[in-house]
C-alpha cells in the first residue's frame, strides 16, 4: 500500500463525510423556506378582525376565518372524544394480550389502518355517515379523523404499557384489586406520559388533514356549531381559498396557514418537551 493510496482513501472518506453533512442539513432548507414564507405572508393578515369574522363574499375585502377556527376546534374535539377512549382501551387490550389470536389480527389491522391513505378514509366515511344521514356533516368529518387518530393512540399506548414492569401489575393484583382498577388506577397512570404524547401527536397529525374532510365536513362559509351540518375547518378553508383565483381569498388562506402551521408545530414541540417532564420515575 502506497502512502498516496492511503491519502486518497482518507480524502475520499472526508469527501463523503462533507457530502453527507451537506445533504443532511439541506433537508432543513425546505422546512425553513416554508416556515419563513408562511410567516411573512401570513403575519400581516392576522389581527383581531381576522379571528372573529367570517369570510366576506368575493369582491369585498376583509373578512376573517372565525368559522374555520371554530369548526376545526369542534371537529377535532369530537374526533378526540371518539378516538381517545377506543384507542387507549384497544392499546390496553393489545398490551395485555400479547399472544392471543385476536390480538394478532387486531395489531395487523392497526398497522394497516396506519398506512391507509387519508383520502380513502374520506371515501369510507362518506358511505358510512354522509349518505345514510343524507348530507355532509361535521360529525362525519370527526369520525373520519378519529379513524386516522386511532392507530397512533393505540400504538403509543401499547408501546408504553409494554415497557411497564410486570411487578407493578402484580403488586396491584396482590392487593386484591380487580382487573379494571389495576388497569385504570395503576397501569394507565404509570404510562400516562407515553399515552398522552400519543394522543397529542395524533391530534397534531389530524389537525392538518384535509382529504378526509373533503367529502364529509365539506366546508361552510358561515359560522356553524351544528354537528349534523357541514362545517368549515382550517385545512379545508386553506385548500378552497388557495386554489381560488381571488387575491383576497389567498390572503385569508395565508393567515389561516400560519395559524394552522403554528398550532401543529407547537403541538409537536410541546409534546416532546412536556412528556419528558411528566415521565413517571420507575
Amino acid at each position: 500500500m502506497t502512502p498516496s493510496n492511503i491519502k486518497y482513501r482518507i480524502g475520499k472518506s472526508r469527501g463523503f463525510q462533507v457530502l453527507t453533512i451537506t445533504l443532511a442539513f439541506a433537508c432543513v432548507i425546505p422546512l425553513l423556506a416554508i416556515l419563513g414564507f408562511i410567516i411573512e405572508a401570513g403575519i400581516t393578515k392576522i389581527n383581531w378582525h381576522f379571528l372573529v369574522n367570517v369570510p366576506k363574499p368575493v369582491g369585498e375585502t376583509g373578512g376573517g376565518i372565525a368559522n374555520a377556527l371554530l369548526g376545526t376546534l369542534i371537529i377535532i374535539l369530537v374526533a378526540a372524544l371518539i378516538a381517545i377512549p377506543i384507542g387507549i382501551l384497544c392499546g390496553v387490550y393489545l398490551s395485555e394480550n400479547k399472544k392471543s389470536r385476536l390480538a394478532y389480527w387486531s395489531r395487523l389491522c392497526v398497522d394497516i389502518l396506519q398506512g391507509v391513505p387519508s383520502i380513502v378514509v374520506g371515501i369510507v366515511a362518506y358511505f358510512w355517515l354522509v349518505k345514510p344521514l343524507g348530507g355532509f356533516s361535521a360529525l362525519s368529518g370527526s369520525v373520519a379523523l378519529a379513524i386516522m387518530m386511532l392507530p397512533i393512540v393505540i400504538r403509543s399506548t401499547e408501546e408504553t404499557l409494554k415497557l411497564l414492569p410486570d411487578t407493578l401489575k402484580e403488586a396491584a393484583f396482590a392487593l386484591g384489586m380487580p382487573f379494571h382498577r389495576v388497569i385504570l388506577k395503576v397501569i394507565i397512570p404509570c404510562g400516562i406520559s407515553g399515552i398522552l404524547s400519543g394522543v397529542m401527536l395524533s391530534i397534531a397529525r389530524v389537525a392538518g388533514e384535509t382529504a378526509p374532510l373533503l367529502f364529509t365536513a365539506f366546508g361552510n362559509p358561515y359560522l356553524s356549531a351544528n354537528l349534523t351540518k357541514p362545517m368549515q375547518s382550517l385545512p379545508l378553508l386553506i385548500f378552497n381559498y388557495a386554489t381560488s383565483p381571488y387575491n383576497d381569498w389567498h390572503d385569508l388562506a395565508w393567515g389561516a396557514s400560519l395559524i394552522l402551521l403554528v398550532f401543529v408545530l407547537m403541538l409537536n414541540i410541546f409534546t416532546k418537551l412536556i412528556t419528558r417532564k411528566w415521565k413517571v420515575q420507575l
Partner: protein, 252 residues
C-alpha cells in the same frame, strides 16, 4: 392447640404441560413463620403464588387441588377476596411509582375505591408504617414518591402496604434477596413482630435466614414437598436424604 390457617390438599400447579408443583399437602399453623426452601426452579414461587391465586395470572398456568384458608377453599373463592385476605410481598420492592409514600401505604384502599375518612387513613398509615419500623424514617416525607426511598425502605413500604389491608396471611417471595445486609436484618426483625398478628410464609434461599426467622421449614425438591418440619429439627436432623444434601450444600 394451635389452629391451622392454611392447608393445601393435593395441590398441583402447571405451566401448560409443565408440571411444576406436585401433590403438595401442607398444614400451616396460625401466627407462625414458615420458611419455604429448595433448589432454584423447584416450584417455591409457583406454590406461593398459588396460595393467593396469583399463579393463574400467568397465561397457560393452571392449578388443581385445594388450598384451604380457614377451612374454605380459596380455589372456590373469587381471587379478589383471597388476595384481600392473603397479602404478598415480592422479591423486588415494587412500590407504585406514581403514588406518594402515604398513598402507597393505603394503596389497597385508595386504588380499590374504598373511601375512608382522613383520620382513619392517617391512622392506618401510621400504624402500618410503625409496624414495619419505617414510620420514624419517613414521617416527614410522606408526600414524596415511594420510588425515592432506598431499596430496603421500599421493601418495608411494600410490607406496610400489604399489612395495611389487615390480611391474615402474608406471603414473601425472597423478600431480602435484593437488599443489602443491614436492610435484610431490619426486615428479618420485622418478621418476629409481624408474627404476632399474621401468619408469614417466606420463600428464601438463605438457610441462615430460614434458621433465624422461621418456626417451621418446608423443603421442596423438583415440585414435591419433600420434608416439612420444625425448623430446628429439620436443620439438625433432616429425615430425607435430599434435604440433608441441600442443607449440607451438596447441591444448590
Amino acid at each position: 392447640m394451635e389452629s391451622t390457617i392454611i392447608k393445601s390438599i393435593d395441590y398441583n400447579a402447571y405451566f401448560g404441560d409443565n408440571h411444576v408443583v406436585k401433590n403438595v399437602n401442607i398444614e400451616i399453623p396460625k401466627n407462625h413463620v414458615i420458611a419455604v426452601m429448595g433448589p432454584s426452579g423447584c416450584g417455591k414461587t409457583t406454590f406461593l403464588r398459588g396460595i393467593n391465586r396469583m399463579h393463574e395470572l400467568i397465561p397457560n398456568a393452571t392449578a388443581k387441588g385445594k388450598i384451604l384458608l380457614n377451612n374454605e377453599d380459596v380455589m372456590e373463592m373469587h381471587p379478589i377476596f383471597v388476595r384481600l385476605k392473603i397479602g404478598m410481598v415480592f422479591q423486588r420492592p415494587n412500590p407504585f411509582p406514581n403514588l406518594s409514600i402515604y398513598d402507597n401505604v393505603i394503596a389497597g384502599y385508595k386504588l380499590n375505591g374504598i373511601k375512608l375518612p382522613k383520620a382513619e387513613k392517617d391512622q392506618i398509615v401510621e400504624e402500618s408504617l410503625t409496624k414495619v419500623a419505617l414510620w420514624k424514617e419517613v414521617k416527614d416525607s410522606l408526600t414524596k414518591k415511594g420510588s425515592f426511598l432506598s431499596g430496603g425502605q421500599q421493601q418495608r413500604l411494600c410490607i406496610a402496604r400489604a399489612v395495611a389491608m389487615q390480611p391474615e396471611v402474608l406471603l414473601f417471595d425472597e423478600p431480602t434477596s435484593a437488599l443489602d445486609p443491614i436492610s435484610t436484618s431490619t426486615v428479618e426483625e420485622l418478621f418476629h413482630e409481624l408474627k404476632k398478628n399474621y401468619t408469614l410464609i417466606i420463600v428464601t434461599h438463605n438457610m441462615q435466614q430460614a434458621a433465624r426467622v422461621s418456626d417451621r421449614t418446608a423443603f421442596f425438591y423438583v415440585g414435591e414437598l419433600v420434608e416439612y418440619d420444625d425448623t430446628k429439627r429439620m436443620f439438625t436432623n433432616p429425615r430425607d436424604i435430599r434435604t440433608q444434601n441441600y442443607i449440607t450444600g451438596r447441591f444448590s
